[in-house]
Point group: C2
Chain length 272, copies 2
């Protein structure tokens, strides 16, 4: 199977035009639209792309936090990315996405040069049947962004898609870009946010929700990630607590061959 | 037991002098010194305090991310706190701590007005013997900040303190301010960072480590927190992955009576 990186809808969706150092212009993508506005995962990837394409960037991302301050409108936006501190092997970033000169998204990130040292993964990869043996998510009544992923839910589908009665919000799913695309930090970022909202797993009504803050720790170094092929990854997530309008969503993303790629947590607003 | 909030060493350590709106001056505290420089938990609390004392602040904190960009020196510092976006019920913040006009810490936070709605805690509080039945941590060879806490480790003490052989980095501990102090968002923030580094639980050598980025989600609303008394809280934490110089530390803080107060995650640099 062959595919052209540059023509993949994901690369177009996150495309930025750098006007001057650290100042970019972009546009939301109809392919990755959500129910209202763009899919937050692709917006997070776009912010990360502004860092990785910055001429002063050193190393690869280890930490990213994105704060969704206001709804992103379907139109042009400006991104300003600034290194706030550059050390010998780590670099700290502050990034803002603006529309009408107002802050819509704020973000901090850390990039770093990793080096070989003692390493240990404590968590075991969850057991899961092979990707091909899990039925594909039916693409009925889903927003456009979902149609760019092949999602196969092993456990914890939204209540609207299943008759299973559940008592927790745990989801285990295979996911890959559709059409296929080689995994990189940008697609991994988006995949960290590509779980259905936890409250839809616990409760049937489609209440309004929105991510308030998203954090991703990248556990894979650039050279190992560079060896990954275009293949599905396994995502595991759950909410620990739903409390008075806000819940968390905590998860891990594993490569098919059992490497922990990223851990992620987000805080989500809900109206129930 | 009585105590004076204003004279508690923690309140002195996080004290800020607001010179103009959102511009503060503070000083590191010898009481909360770490091996080198100040304890990062108290620095995180001080940044949060700059938000909570800002005249434009609405609501109480729901999310806080603190990026430790460079070592904080033991001396004066300046904090600049800005609301980046104010909505009807949520507010987004960007805060920087500067020394010599350079960014040393950057931080984002979300404050919000919570409201009563459907709520559910999925995780059970870990089982633990009562605080009084667990031996107190011996205060030998510990940095000054540890001496401001009564820490009682049920499981997962640093290898230097114990002969237990362990295969994971899980720690379960009771902790409270010493002298006692009523719990608030500031002390809760600091307690989220008051676990010993995970790598010292897994491995004996005291290798250099430093938190790179810390995220806290506050699950307790202000009025419920206001009813908390000065009493120990239960902290549970673990690392999922140690990889080429960076590991995560993920945890939960519970009140004595089983309320989930906060979830937290941090990325830590280590040299092994």
């Amino acid at each position: 199977m062959t595919f052209n990186m540059q023509s993949h809808p994901f690369d177009n969706a996150t495309y930025l035009n750098q006007q001057e150092t650290g100042v970019y212009f972009g546009h939301t993508s109809a392919n990755y639209a959500n129910m209202i506005g763009p899919f937050g995962g692709v917006i997070a990837s776009t912010l990360l792309r502004s860092i990785l394409e910055h001429p002063d960037c050193i190393g690869s991302p280890v930490s990213l936090t994105v704060n969704y301050a206001a709804p992103v409108k379907d139109k042009d936006f400006k991104i300003i990315a600034k290194p706030t501190r550059t050390n010998r092997s780590t670099q700290h970033w502050y990034v803002e996405l603006l529309q009408n000169e107002q802050t819509v998204i704020s973000s901090t990130a850390v990039t770093a040069l990793k080096r070989n040292t003692w390493s240990s993964t404590e968590l075991a990869m969850p057991e899961a049947p092979p990707f091909k043996e899990v039925p594909k998510l039916p693409m009925i009544d889903v927003p456009p962004w979902v149609q760019n992923y092949d999602i196969r839910i092993i456990k914890g589908a939204p209540r609207a898609f299943t008759n299973d009665s559940v008592t927790d919000s745990v989801t285990l799913q295979w996911i890959e870009d559709m059409p296929k695309r080689k995994l990189d930090y940008l697609s991994l970022t988006s995949i960290c946010d590509a779980f259905f909202p936890r409250i839809y797993v616990r409760r049937e009504p489609f209440v309004p929700i929105g991510t308030v803050s998203l954090t991703i720790y990248f556990h894979i170094d650039a050279s190992t990630l560079g060896k990954e092929r275009a293949q599905p990854v396994l995502g595991h997530t759950r909410a620990i607590n739903f409390n008075e309008g806000f819940y968390d969503q905590t998860g891990e993303i594993w490569s098919s061959n059992g490497v922990l790629l990223a851990t992620t947590t987000q805080l989500v607003y809900y109206k129930a």
